[in-house]
């Protein structure tokens, strides 16, 4: 579905030289799969994501979606066909919730009635009753509601591919948990192909079909969460997983005070 072939990105740097943000990266994302790119900030995961909808142009390599090289596509229509959700949400403050969700269909010149119907459908899906929320302004929503509207906006034009950049980074843990479950349901229901970027290891392990661990622009390891968790391929990956592992052990110990320790394993 999405195929990154030896993709690199070099940013013109300062006096110390150019910065290699992404270093000859190759990844295949299957249809309906959720791939989570995991890594510390500056590892190149966001740059990788933005190259998929051409917010950033690669310095070398090719990216194909559905067998077509995206370099041959018009970036504007490419972006309209791909959902994009990011931590900043970026709802248009001068538009109503309905206008925000209907933004891409409006850009695509859908008939008005079809846009309205689609907006109501999505509002229902994200659990905001249309009659009550349609005409609200973004500032009248909670953080979680804003992020839901952001997701609805990304999906409005029936996008089959969703790019998510730390989508839950700005919301509180309880809301985050709810949103994560909603996304999990939504992607199964809509058969979405998702590429998501996060630095939250637990989030990556819980949401992903496969996790790609990145460092310094390179892919260290890619595989199902259980495999990554069980068999980290390198010292770096192991260290990254250390904290969630320790937390899991402690939680387990709390829940089963009598059980012998060191036996917890996934």
């Amino acid at each position: 579905m999405i195929s990154l072939r030896s993709v690199s990105k070099v940013y013109a740097g300062d006096a110390t030289g150019n910065v290699l943000a992404v270093d000859s990266l190759s990844i295949e994302v299957e249809r309906g799969e959720t791939l989570v790119l995991l890594g510390a900030s500056g590892c190149g995961k966001t740059t990788t994501l933005k190259m998929i909808n051409r917010l950033v142009e690669p310095s070398a390599g090719e990216i194909h979606i559905n067998g077509r090289n995206i370099a041959d596509l018009d970036p504007v229509s490419l972006r309209r066909s791909i959902g994009y959700v990011f931590q900043g949400v970026g709802l248009f403050p001068h538009w109503s919730v309905a206008a925000n969700i209907g933004a891409i269909p409006a850009l695509l010149d859908w008939p008005r009635a079809r846009v309205a119907a689609r907006v109501d459908e999505l509002l229902e899906m994200i659990g905001l009753p249309p009659a009550e929320y349609r005409e609200r302004r973004p500032h009248e929503l909670s953080g979680g509601q804003q992020q839901r509207v952001g997701v609805a906006r990304a999906l409005a034009a029936e996008a089959k591919v969703l790019l998510m950049d730390e989508p839950f980074g700005a919301v509180d843990p309880i809301t985050r948990d709810g949103l994560q479950q909603e996304i999990d349901q939504m992607r199964r229901q809509l058969e979405l192909t998702i590429v998501m970027v996060t630095h939250d290891v637990t989030e990556a392990l819980l949401l992903a079909d496969r996790v790609g661990v990145m460092d310094a622009g390179q892919l260290l390891q890619i595989g199902p969460p259980a495999e990554i968790f069980a068999r980290p391929a390198s010292e770096l990956v192991a260290r990254l997983l250390e904290m969630p592992r320790r937390q899991t052990d402690r939680l387990h110990a709390l829940a089963h005070p009598d059980a012998p320790q060191e036996e917890t394993d996934l």
Binding site: F86, G90, I104, L107
Partner: protein
């Protein structure tokens, strides 16, 4: 006094109307020019600096100078140069606020807009400009107020405005007229500001009725200003048209009215362009934008012909008549009969105490004395000639508005002033005009000048010829005194002067 106020009020609708048209026209064009520039600056941030810089440079040019610069640039006087200057002036606040507003838009919102597939122009029109709107509109309101204020300065380039009250009022010591001009301009500024604010609120609230109301009010204002009975009060109507010019002092206003009276009596429709700058008016006559005005032989001799010598009045007249006809096609209809020489004057008591009767006497005392003059004088060739011939070096040089200059002399802030020999105030304040034994100053006979086109119109020549030789020094000085000291209106003084002329 009340008759004077009445005659001023009669002109208010016409001046107000042209002020409205100038301001609204310039503002509309200025905003129309600034908005694409805002777009350009936002899309290409490297251009933002130079664009804002250029607009700021225009802004630093003093308003009057910017207006005056437009005259040689466009080669004409009137509404066009005024409008151009006002447009340039109104661009900066709109541009600056628009760019600031657009650059302050939340970067997350911009990333989202690009991420969902907006083109750069959709981003600008649907996101950046609407979000910048409140700041942008504040800029438009600033521009509106500045433009109303600066439009009062378009009088000297020949565009009628509320400035006509202010300029002529200042020159003729008519504070009621000055106040009328200022108050009217303030009312217009507040009204425009309120209208723009109303439009902004309407846009923000998406209130169609409010938007219609503000649009209608603005349309009504413009329609009223262009309504013929108001706007054309100054214009000629169907009758053959003659445009009479005047410089910015009392004598010129009176003479222009006198010429207008004669022309009207002969069946012409007369338009007046008063308060023109002294080189602007000559160029306007040569270009045929005005048909007739009164100038002074010495001024033409020194400023236009660039002569430095000072031969006898007869020779100056002869050479000037020939030169004007040959180089500009301007007809010198003749001498009006009086002289209005530039001279240096002192309070009689002070001159006597210091023993000064001539410019040569003055030169000896000059290092202890202060000299005051009107804005032009120190830049004029006549001053250079006098200064160099007599070796005048004063302790201090100060420029004044002519009205205030006399007060400064009487109160002793300066010892010597530049003065016009026909000025009624010379007698009234008991001043002594110092003699010029070396004849450094050229003769200043008042001469009636006709544009090349007007010179070919026999009817115009016939209507004006009786004025030649009819105005002696005493008559002119008396008419000036009626305005400057007795606070009569220009129209009254001109009518009295007309009645006093030999039949």
């Amino acid at each position: 006094m009340s008759a004077q106020l009445e005659s001023q009020l009669a002109q208010l609708p016409a001046y107000f109307a042209s002020h409205v048209l100038l301001t609204v026209g310039a503002l509309a064009a200025g905003v129309a020019l600034a908005l694409p520039l805002v777009g350009l600056a936002v899309r290409k941030p490297t251009l933002a600096g130079p664009l804002l810089g250029a607009a700021s440079v225009i802004q630093t040019i003093p308003g009057l100078a910017l207006l005056a610069l437009m005259v040689p640039l466009l080669g004409r006087i009137g509404v066009a140069p005024a409008l151009l200057a006002l447009i340039l002036y109104s661009v900066l606040p709109v541009l600056r606020n628009g760019v600031t507003g657009a650059l302050e838009v939340d970067p997350d919102v911009l990333e989202a807009a690009r991420g969902i597939g907006m083109t750069e122009s959709q981003l600008l029109l649907r996101v950046q400009l609407p979000l910048a709107a409140p700041v942008l509109v504040a800029g438009i309101r600033t521009a509106a107020i500045w433009t109303v204020g600066m439009a009062t300065l378009s009088t000297p380039v020949g565009a009628a405005s509320l400035g006509n009250f202010i300029f002529s009022g200042l020159q003729t010591q008519n504070s009621a007229a000055v106040l009328l001009g200022c108050v009217s301009a303030a009312v217009l500024a507040l009204a425009l500001d309120a209208l723009i604010r109303l439009a902004e609120v309407a846009t923000r609230r998406r209130d169609a009725r409010l938007a219609w109301t503000s649009g209608l009010l603005l349309a009504l204002l413009v329609a009223l200003a262009s309504w013929p009975p108001i706007a054309a009060a100054q214009r000629a109507g169907d009758r053959p048209r003659v445009v009479v010019g005047a410089k910015t002092f009392t004598e010129q206003y009176i003479l222009a009215e006198l010429l207008a009276m004669r022309l009207r009596a002969s069946g012409f429709g007369v338009e007046k362009r008063a308060s023109l700058g002294s080189t602007v008016i000559f160029d306007a006559l040569a270009a045929g934008e005005i048909d007739v005005y009164v100038d002074y032989s010495g001024t033409i001799w020194a400023n236009q012909m660039k002569r430095r010598n000072t031969p006898s009045p007869g020779l100056v007249m002869e050479a000037m008549t020939e030169w004007l006809a040959k180089t500009h096609g301007i007809l010198v209809l003749g001498r009006l009969g009086f002289e209005n020489a530039y001279g240096l004057a002192m309070r009689r008591d002070r001159a006597e105490r210091l023993g000064i009767a001539t410019l040569a006497d003055l030169a000896a005392r000059a290092p202890q004395l202060a000299v005051g003059a009107d804005y032009e004088f120190f830049a004029r060739p006549e001053w250079i000639a006098v200064r160099d011939r007599y070796g005048l070096a004063f302790r201090e040089q100060r420029s004044f508005d002519p009205t205030l200059m006399y007060a400064a002399l009487v109160e002793g802030h300066v010892d010597v002033i530049s003065a016009f020999s026909s000025d009624g105030r010379i007698v009234a304040f008991d001043l002594r005009v110092l003699e010029d034994p070396e004849q450094a100053l050229p003769p200043y006979d008042a001469v009636l000048l006709l544009s090349p086109q007007a010179a070919t119109r026999a009817e115009v020549v016939r209507a004006l010829r009786p004025l030649v030789g009819a105005l002696d020094d005493a008559r002119m000085r008396n008419a000036n005194k009626r305005v400057d000291l007795d606070a009569r209106s220009i129209a009254e003084a001109a009518a009295e002067l007309a009645r006093s002329l030999p039949r």
